[in-house]
Amino acid sequence: MSRRLSEVFAQAKSANRGALIGYLPAGYPTAAASVELLNTMIDAGVDAIEVGLPYSDPLMDGADIQFAVAAALAGGTTTDVVLDVVGRLDGERAALLVMSYWNPIERYGVERFAARLAAAGGNGVITPDLTPEEAGPWFAATKANAIDTIFLVAPSSTDERIKAVVANTSGFVYAASTMGVTGARSQVGGGAEPLVTRTRRVTGLPISVGLGVSTGAQAREVATYADGVIVGSAFVRCIRAAADLPAAIAAVRDLAGELAEGVRRPSD
């Protein structure tokens, strides 16, 4: 079992910094390389890993992640490969999560998926297209296997809706910074901070902001009001741009280091 999210967020808080959460799809560029790249993130100070489960119809993802998951699928990445990747990550130093669209989990069998993920050391799942209303069997399976269920809130969510979502969330609440798909942006959406404020009113859970964060400076800004910062597309981009695996590892290490530095809050 990897580190618990509750512990990760508590420790980050006591160290006066935001938690850093890094995403990469399993199997990109290959299964073995994704293990190396994700472990590199952990080495460089990432607190929680989101292992993406590649899906054929990633309708919440922008161009970078679409490219990476298509490559991972073309390379034969199955749900079993994803779980194997999770099992090869350094869970002593980071929380291990899976981020997956719903159909692959349902097809694998919700209980089977939860049990195998727990056996591989994972303890949280982010489901961007599953709403709590449709998640009945999922709650039972995740509870039985001590897996956190992470749901999203968005700038368009009403207060009432946020309340309903957080009531079914554990680990942390994923606050989408903007109305849009994943992808590095020059600015983090202005809707993020008010959304975090609204969410805090109804939950004591940690709140992490994702969508559009790509630099240390953006991480610093987000960490002033959120408990965690989620970065995905920016990692995919630096892997796409690298000439070979050693160059990709170096680029991922540099970016993770920059972001880990960014989430430190200035001591006052």
Binding site: G62, T78, E106, Y108, L130, T131, P155
Partner: protein
């Protein structure tokens, strides 16, 4: 059955960012359909603009090839823009106005829904963007030009299989980012709640009219009603008029492509399984890992790996029966209707006609059958020319439909 569900099917599997927009659509829809001014406006446009009611045409020469059963064609091909799609597009365009939004987006496969949405946008002065798979922009090139003439922007989608499924993904991505001023006019009875119910409501006019017309013509209800099923909006429209008449068989025909056994088809019921795609639980063509399998059909409008969730429920309960029709059977039916009745149907519709030939032979000469003639075939002439080896007269370029 809970709201937005059809048995275990349907529901809402979408990013949280879209929940508010779906709730807004749901409440706008529910208030509209009990608002007499909305109904009056819709009915006026159906009559004076779309050309409703569409006729019910008895097709005796075609019927000779259907075991002698009496065949009636519900002529949605005679609607403005040439298919049933205008029924839904105008309805949702009025909802767009009602929600105070200024822009509509749509996905399109065969281009008929894109053309209908672009038309409704032009009529009501709304901005319009249509997403179309790159492969479909080639095989339905005529409709791309029509949409552009109507003032819509057509975006060619190059992701994935470059067909309807990918156009929907791209439309959803646009919608998440633009939802404040944009309504997504989904073209069929798929997608997250309340879309399947909204689209059924606007297509139900087909079944209501057909029910009245057949009673006038035959003095009784039909033995079977027949439609092609891609997402399934023309089928739901016709079926909904007869849903509670247990003696009327509901028959849906999906695309068998090269044959279900070849793997190159769009036969969700014959070869798919329950899953989640594009926001709803329904029958999906998927592999053992839940990855969507790309569909294949000569007909762009049926070339989709999912199907409306209500059809999944009608399938499981046995209320409706679904069978695949292969490309060759559909093309033969297209030629047959053209030569026996002087009506060139869309290739999508030709699947229903081939189905009617089967049903007619099964039920025999006393049977009365209504086929939804969902669209006309002008858009498909280049595909047909290649299929049948019809040469273009000298000097005429047959570039489209590659």
């Amino acid at each position: 059955m809970t709201a937005g569900h059809f048995g275990p099917y349907g529901g809402r599997f979408v990013p949280e960012a879209l929940t508010a927009a779906l709730d807004e659509l749901d409440s706008a829809f529910r208030s509209a359909i009990i608002d007499p001014s909305f109904i009056t406006r819709l009915t006026q446009l159906e009559r004076s603009y779309s050309g409703r009611p569409s006729p019910l045409t008895r097709a005796d020469r075609f019927a000779e090839h259907c075991g002698g059963a009496r065949i009636y064609l519900k002529r949605e091909d005679l609607n403005h823009t040439g298919s049933h799609k205008i029924n839904n597009a105008i309805g949702q365009a009025l909802l767009t106005q009602r929600m105070g939004k200024s822009r509509m987006i749509a996905e399109t496969g065969a281009g008929q829904h894109g053309v209908a949405t672009a038309t409704a946008a032009a009529l009501l002065g709304l901005e319009c963007t249509v997403f179309m798979g790159e492969e479909d922009t080639h095989r339905q090139a005529l409709n791309v030009v029509r949409m552009q003439l109507l003032g819509a922007q057509v975006i060619s989608v190059t992701a994935g299989s470059r067909t309807l499924k990918d156009a929907i993904n791209e439309a959803m991505r646009d919608w998440v980012a633009s939802v404040e001023r944009t309504h997504y006019v989904l073209g069929t009875v798929t997608g997250p709640a309340p879309f399947p119910e909204v689209v059924r409501y606007f297509q139900a006019v087909v079944g209501r009219e057909a029910r009245d017309q057949i009673q006038l013509a035959e003095g009784r209800l039909p033995d079977a009603v027949v439609a092609c099923v891609g997402g399934g909006s023309n089928a739901i429209g016709l079926f909904s008029g007869f849903m509670d008449d247990a003696e009327v068989q509901l028959r849906g025909y999906e695309a068998g492509g090269d044959g279900v056994e070849t793997g190159r088809h769009a036969a969700r019921f014959a070869a798919g399984s329950p899953g989640v795609l594009h926001g709803a639980r329904t029958y999906v063509m998927q592999d053992e890992w839940g990855q969507t399998i790309a569909s294949h059909s000569i007909s762009a409008g049926l070339d989709y790996p999912g199907v409306g969730p209500e059809h999944s429920w009608l399938h499981d309960t046995g209320r409706a029966k679904y069978e695949p029709i292969n490309d060759d059977e559909a093309m033969a039916a297209m030629a047959l209707l053209s030569r026996t009745e002087g009506i060139i149907p869309a290739i999508e519709t030709a699947h229903a006609l081939a189905g009617a030939m089967r049903v007619g032979r099964e039920l025999g000469p006393t049977a009365v059958i209504i086929v939804n003639l969902s669209g006309r075939g002008d858009k498909d002439v280049a595909t047909a020319a290649r299929w049948f080896g019809i040469g273009a007269p000298a000097g005429i370029e047959m570039a489209e439909g590659r």
